[in-house]
């Protein structure tokens, strides 16, 4: 079928492949055919009829989106017949379309506006009354203006075909036809924001952004998602506010990177920018005096910090870093601390075991997932942890890969999968059994397998064993595995030396205390970088105790109650779109971004805080950001990851702990930025102390974001959200009551 055919469009001879759509072929040749319902990522319905073209030999005009090219086809997109058809369709669409452009958020980026300008008639012959459609509330993220809907059904097809959740549908006929969620329940999908981009008109627009600006008034800055290890590409639309040279992010839209997010964006990435402007943003350094907090100057707090740092025994200093840090910040921070003798540096604040975690770049491209015969999710809630990866899993599943999941919760996915429900205490054992079936040959994995280790596995006490088993198994076959670490730059921090195991760029072994060990030690000084002791660590109880007993210096973008409880000094921090930097995604792909907006108040970029600290402690630090970034690029470019130490694989045991965490936090509470994004929080509210699952089978009470009514929980497991944290309790034997 790879032979090519020739056709003529507008008197140009064009070569195409059989099976291609006329609209795509024309587009490739620079001939634009107007369209509304057609979208390259969605199925073709040919319902809007805007793309009608004149094909020789066929009496009636034909929709270019639904017509496949054929040999010797002669197409005219600008003949009288075609132009008449376009004008007629345009006129027909505008019959019921209000003249709202000046107050419509789509104005300026509206496909209907553009098409009306380019292909419309210019005058209206319609003077009867227009249709008005009542708006439906789709929740806090998507605003509807249903009178503007042109019934292209892109939003409907997106739900059905891409997001896998048919939330919107087309109901009614004729005059009363419209888009609705059937039950007025609002949009709940983790990808719902994408309908904003898909809707060609202003019928579906962003609610947090409503009326705030115009598409032509923004500066565009490329950025990278700061919430998961996939590194979705996005664009910040920023606007200058007032006269003080302050630039704010007004909205976030996806950037089409076919290798990563393909133009989709998870709601978490799209709406979290609101967190930048939350009232809890810290704007000046804070200092604790007795029981009171007061604002202080940077000079004052830095002097204080300096005096502490030079006086303290470096072995008694602990550093906890957030995996939202950029590569540059992480490198500089560990450099300053390590050269002062501090080795206790960790960013894996989710770990529940004192073991090294071998984070390595994966060679698996997102587009190649279907080349694996089986994909095994180990303790992953992939749909919420890495929404974009879940889309690719769906694609792989459609292309024939089998998907298996092992974990305490059978999450509701939109692709078929086989679930091995497991009590969290037995996770490692079940993985072992899957890899080495007791009755050999029965149910064993065959062919190329991809293992995806998610949150439940990463926070598991047995993570080292699980990784070793999987690693060993993959070593002996052409299978692969990936650690789906929380945060956008966990791999980057592992590379740049922010772990107790290795120094920067894997150059040498280090032997600092891990986060787990620090929790069980006493420290004199604790340094937190964008870590909230209540939310961002796996063991808030111990963290509280440790931080309260130590002199705690927190660098944080937010002024939270838990930080005020634990810390002694808080320095205001500029977050990702306010600071330049780079993140490493799960493949080790370094994606750079520039500062898109201005930091709030006196907040400083992370690298500059460590730069000043380093200079005060008379350490050698790069003279400015550019030098730092060049150093980091060079070092990462030539980095060789140290070998993984093989540990002997033996059959794991069941853990006796009564309490096991099965998740870190729900997907919209994983870091400070999303926790303070108002609309997102409203869309996925917290319900404290809600019992989510009963021991027997699947009766779940309360509605919670990550867990769905239909999610099934392993028998003997209680899952509930305490504060904002998922716990699973099982009916195992009691031990010391350790929440581990």
């Amino acid at each position: 079928m790879s032979h090519s055919i020739e056709l003529t469009i507008n008197e140009r001879v064009i070569v195409a492949k059989p099976g291609e759509r006329l609209i795509d072929v024309a587009q490739r040749e620079g001939i634009y055919i107007p369209r509304f319902c057609y979208h390259p990522k969605l199925s073709v319905v040919a319902s809007c009829r805007m793309c009608l073209v004149d094909i020789e030999g066929i009496g009636k005009t034909q929709p270019a989106c639904a017509t496949l090219v054929s040999d010797n086809m002669v197409v005219k997109t600008q003949s009288h017949k075609a132009i008449d058809a376009q004008k007629a369709i345009m006129q027909f669409l505008l019959i019921n379309h209000p003249l709202h452009c000046p107050i419509c958020d789509q104005g300026g980026e509206c496909e209907l506006q553009d098409t009306a300008m380019g292909y419309g008639k210019g005058v209206s012959e319609y003077s009867e009354s227009k249709r008005v459609v009542a708006d439906e509330d789709l929740g806090p993220l998507v605003k509807t203006d249903m009178s503007l809907c042109i019934h292209c059904t892109r939003c409907v097809r997106f739900g059905k075909e891409v997001a896998g959740v048919p939330e919107l549908s087309f109901i009614g006929r004729g005059d009363t036809a419209g888009i609705s969620t059937y039950l007025s329940r609002g949009l709940k999908s983790e990808l719902s924001g994408n309908v904003i981009d898909l809707c060609p008109v202003g019928a579906l627009t962003s609610k947090p952004f409503r009326f705030k600006g115009r598409s032509w008034g923004f500066k565009q800055q490329r950025g990278v998602s700061s919430h998961d290890c996939i590194g979705s590409n996005l664009v910040y639309h920023t606007m200058a506010k007032g006269y003080e040279n302050i630039t704010d992010v007004m909205r976030v839209v996806p950037y089409t990177n076919m290798a990563l997010n393909e133009g989709w964006l998870a709601d978490r990435d799209r709406f979290s920018y609101e967190g930048l402007y939350a009232s809890e943003r810290l704007e000046t350094p804070l200092l604790k005096e007795g029981d009171h907090w007061r604002q202080a100057s940077f000079e004052e707090v830095l002097t204080l910090i300096y005096n502490r740092m030079v006086a303290v025994d470096p072995e008694k200093v602990g550093v906890w870093l957030s995996s939202q840090m950029t590569l540059e910040e992480g490198y500089l921070a560990q450099h300053v601390f390590r050269s002062s003798g501090v080795e206790n540096i960790d960013h894996r604040l989710w770990m529940n075991a004192d073991v090294p975690l071998y984070q390595r770049p994966s060679s698996v491209a997102l587009g190649d997932l279907h080349s694996f015969d089986t994909i095994v999710l180990i303790g992953s809630n992939i749909r919420y942890e890495q929404p974009i990866l879940a889309l690719r899993l769906k694609e792989a599943s459609e292309k024939g890969s089998d998907i298996i999941s092992i974990g305490a919760i059978a999450h509701e996915y939109y692709f078929p999968y086989q679930c091995h429900l497991t009590q969290p205490q037995e996770l490692a054992m079940r993985v072992f059994e899957l890899l080495h079936p007791p009755v050999s040959g029965q149910g064993s994995l065959s062919g190329k397998v991809l293992f995806l280790l998610g949150e439940e596995a990463l926070i598991h006490v047995d993570i080292a064993q699980i990784q070793a088993m999987v690693h060993h198994w993959c070593d002996q076959s052409e299978s692969e595995y990936m650690l789906l670490t929380p945060g956008p730059n966990s791999l980057g921090l592992a590379a740049s030396g922010c772990t107790p195991d290795y120094k920067a760029w894997g150059a040498a072994k280090a032997n600092g205390l891990s986060y787990y060990r620090m929790l069980r030690n006493t420290m004199d000084v604790m340094w937190l970088h964008q870590v909230d002791p209540m939310q961002d660590v796996s063991d808030p109880k111990r963290a509280y105790q440790l931080l309260k007993s130590a002199f705690t210096i927190a660098v944080s973008a937010y002024d939270t109650a838990s930080l005020r409880d634990c810390a002694d000094v808080i320095l205001p921090l500029a977050l990702a779109p306010e600071t330049p930097g780079s993140y490493l995604n799960y493949q080790g792909l370094q994606q750079k971004f520039v500062a898109a907006s201005s930091p709030r108040g006196e907040a400083k970029m992370g690298w500059s805080i460590y730069h000043v600290l380093g200079s005060m402690l008379s350490k050698v630090v790069a003279k400015d950001y550019d030098t730092l970034s060049q150093d980091v690029d060079r070092a990462y470019g030539t980095m060789v990851w140290p070998d993984i130490e093989q540990v002997p694989v033996e059959k794991p045991k069941v853990i006796s702990a009564q309490w096991m965490r099965v998740g870190l936090s729900s997907w919209v509470r994983g870091d400070g930025l999303v926790r303070h994004a108002a609309a997102l929080q409203q869309a996925y509210p917290i319900e404290e102390f809600v019992l989510l699952a009963e021991t027997q089978e699947a009766s779940i009470e309360g509605q919670i974001t990550n867990l769905k009514y239909s999610d099934t929980i392993a028998p003997g497991t209680l899952v509930y959200e305490r504060g904002q944290v998922f716990y699973a309790e099982t009916m195992g034997p009691l031990d010391d009551g350790d929440v581990s």
Binding site: P102, I103, G107, R210, F211, K212, G213, G242, Y243
Partner: protein, 181 residues
């Protein structure tokens, strides 16, 4: 010597000079153009005066209904501000004198939270007035305004609405004039 001889001698000299230096030079020596110009001044001196000594006099100047004077924001009869924050005036303004920030008002209306015009930048071209879909921003015919202090040059939304309220009658009058005439 009689008068005739004097005139004859003068004429003789003139003719000789004319022959020697030509008519152009001769005109220059005789200040002909200068005297012509003086003649214009002389005539204007005796004519009716039309120059107005602005700002000492000139309050009653006739003004075109299309005069582009101070900018204002208008309201509807019910008191609702017209502006719908479409930002078209901001984007058409060639001097970048308009700054708008907008938000959804509690009742769901699209309204500005900031509407500033920098009078130092504004060149009174009237393009904003042309762009406005709801006749909100207008050029009044008011020319008597001046900014004396740096910082006062930014007219904020409430000031612009106030000017609009004050001049509403004249704005409407001028619009009628313009349409009828």
């Amino acid at each position: 010597m009689n008068i005739g001889a004097v005139i004859a001698t003068l004429l003789f000299f003139l003719i000789i000079t004319w022959l020697v230096i030509g008519s152009e030079q001769l005109k220059r020596y005789l200040l002909v153009d200068f005297l012509k110009g003086l003649g214009v001044t002389g005539r204007a001196f005796w004519r009716r005066k039309i120059t107005q000594h602005y700002p000492d006099e000139g309050e009653e100047l006739p003004i075109s209904p299309r005069f582009k004077g101070a900018l204002a924001l208008r309201r509807y009869e019910n008191g609702e501000e017209r502006c719908i924050a479409c930002k078209l005036c901001e984007s058409i303004c060639p001097a970048l004198a308009i700054t708008i920030e907008a938000e959804e008002r509690a009742d769901g209306a699209r309204k500005t939270t900031r509407f500033d015009i920098d009078t130092f930048k504004c060149i009174n071209c009237g393009l904003c007035e042309e762009a406005c879909p709801v006749d909100s921003i207008v050029c009044t015919d008011e020319m008597h305004y001046s900014i004396l202090q740096r910082g006062d040059n930014i007219l904020a939304k409430d000031q612009l609405l106030m000017i609009g309220d004050m001049y509403e009658d004249r704005i409407q009058h001028n619009l009628r004039e313009d349409n009828d005439g």
